[in-house]
């Protein structure tokens, strides 16, 4: 690991001010992704700004009838909140399908959204990777890519976003609240939060350098049956091959978001009208234009069958 200096801050303003003083600095929250990458020198920040003690650790009701989840709320606490379990079950289900009990005790809401891909070539510093080293190439194209994207990928990068939580957030129409280095606040719908890889896969979100996530808000609960089905190589403590999150209403209408298929949690609102007609027509729209590799074509039928199973389960 490269040396770095360290400071702890107590307020969002102090965090963004610290960033302005130390270019190249990074925020650290739970540290479960950033430190992993720093040990491998994939990330080499000269300065760490510890934001984990900022009092953004509350889950509050909003005047609109939704919830405002502080950026530093731990994954365990978010999954355990009685309102989340009752009204946003999909979120609890997605959270507890991710990582391990120990990791969820540290992982934060903001850090989880910003965790980086698990593409093995991104982790292996001996391999070319446009995301790690822009312009070096993509070893996954033509390499081991069983885990990689089938939608939204580019010639430069076919990585997936590994977060389970983000899939639920997408289905729930969450909004990411931030404050930038100049102190200006903004709210970004999660649908617009992640950037397509295109020619610049190292740029993963629309956040500006030094922009701090302060909260994630959820709109009013929408009711319905919430199911998160994650398919993985072992039953627990494994990243998704694919995952399907649904909210299904009594009349068969609803929402679907997918994990493990693209650079962001994948949802196509236009495809959801087909839900009462079953999985096949939904997947036709949801994965339209999918491009598979020699190793990941299995993801298309797997998504369809998983969705079919989940819809049958929702009917009871």
């Amino acid at each position: 690991m490269k040396s770095f200096t360290y400071e702890r801050v107590d307020t969002p303003a102090a965090a963004t001010a610290a960033f302005a003083r130390t270019p190249g600095a990074r925020f650290i929250a739970g540290g479960t992704n950033l430190l992993d990458l720093m040990k491998l020198e994939i990330e080499t920040p000269p300065h760490l700004i510890d934001v984990s003690h900022i009092a953004l650790d509350k889950i509050e009701a909003t005047p609109e009838g939704g919830l405002r989840i502080g950026a530093m709320v731990r994954n365990t606490d978010l999954a355990s909140d009685a309102r989340v379990r009752r009204d946003y079950g999909l979120l609890t289900r997605a959270l507890v399908a991710g990582a391990s009990g120990q990791l969820r005790n540290k992982a934060t809401t903001a850090g989880n959204l910003l965790q980086r891909t698990r593409c093995p070539y991104f982790y292996d510093t001996n391999q070319p990777c446009n995301k790690r080293k822009p312009g070096s190439g993509c070893a996954a194209i033509g390499g081991f890519n069983r885990l990689h994207a089938v939608v939204g990928a580019s010639e430069a990068c076919i990585a997936t976003h590994p977060s389970d939580m983000a899939v639920a957030m997408r289905a729930l129409d969450a909004t990411v609240e931030t404050v930038d280095a100049g102190g200006k606040a903004r709210a970004i719908p999660i649908a617009d939060f992640y950037r397509a890889p295109a020619k610049t896969p190292h740029l993963e979100t629309v956040l500006a350098p030094g922009e701090l996530i302060t909260a994630v808000t959820l709109p009013r609960p929408v009711g319905g049956t919430h199911i998160y089905h994650k398919v993985r190589d072992r039953a627990s403590y494994a990243f998704a091959l694919i995952s399907v999150g649904v909210i299904v209403q009594r009349d068969g209408t609803g929402r679907v978001a997918l994990g493990g298929v693209g650079y962001k949690p994948w949802r196509v609102e236009g495809a959801e009208a087909a839900l009462p007609r079953g999985a096949r027509p939904v997947v036709d729209g949801l994965l339209a234009g999918a491009k598979t590799t020699h190793e990941n074509a299995y993801k298309l039928p797997l998504v369809e069958r998983t969705l079919a199973g989940v819809l049958a389960q929702a009917k009871g």
Partner: protein, 212 residues
């Protein structure tokens, strides 16, 4: 976690990472001794926390993980280093009542906190009920994963009592219960290469039953 292919591919990277952290430990005394060729002084930060009930104060290279602080600086070698990347659970300790992977957190981030390691749960003469149960049920073979398993198990029973749901909890609005399926799922962050899993579950079930 990783698929086998992924593991093969990244094993080299992981080994490189491991070597780098060993070099870090070696570098600290060299800098402290004022070696003329040493690069710019390694940044250090003071940290004080309570470990197993005792106040400890350290001046650490900012890079030192909580795991290395415990093992290399405080010589509490009960906590083990398996992967150093959050993938095995051997380094599990309890911080302010919660189990975490001590390898994926910086020591300096824990100023003012309360840390319990396997040494703090009980001693050979006065074992914690969970330590006793692991002995009674033969919940290990080589023992390398055991300190992490025991710290994790103690925290798991607290989590169930506190109503933390898991992936196998059927009804999210009801309180979770102690079942073998719940324990297996909640203990999945602790890998045992010797495969002592079934005895580990028996040990935890024994402690949970005794308390109920």
């Amino acid at each position: 976690m990783q698929t086998p292919e992924e593991y093969e591919l990244s094993r080299r990277g992981v080994l490189v990472g491991g070597a780098a952290s060993v070099a870090t430990v070696a570098l600290v005394p060299a800098v402290a001794a004022g070696a003329a060729t040493a690069p710019a002084a390694t940044p250090t930060t003071k940290v004080s926390f309570k470990v197993n009930g005792a106040d400890r104060e350290l001046d650490l290279d900012t890079r030192v993980s909580l795991l290395d602080a415990l093992r290399e600086h405080l010589h509490l070698t009960g906590t083990k280093k398996g992967c150093d990347h959050g993938q095995c659970g051997a380094c599990t300790v309890i911080v302010d009542g919660r189990r975490i992977n001590s390898c994926l957190t910086l020591a300096v981030m824990h100023d003012g906190e309360n840390i319990t390691t396997i040494e703090g749960l009980g001693t050979p003469d006065r074992m914690h009920a969970m330590q006793d149960a692991f002995v009674e049920h033969d919940g290990y073979q080589c023992g390398y994963c055991t300190p992490g398993q025991i710290c994790s198990a103690v925290a798991v029973l607290d989590e169930i009592r506190a109503g933390v749901p898991s992936h196998v909890t059927a009804d999210l609005t009801a309180a979770p219960t102690v079942t073998a399926a719940e324990l297996r799922e909640r203990m999945s962050g602790n890998i045992c290469r010797c495969g002592a899993y079934s005895n580990i579950i028996d040990a935890i079930t024994g402690v949970a039953g005794a308390k109920a």
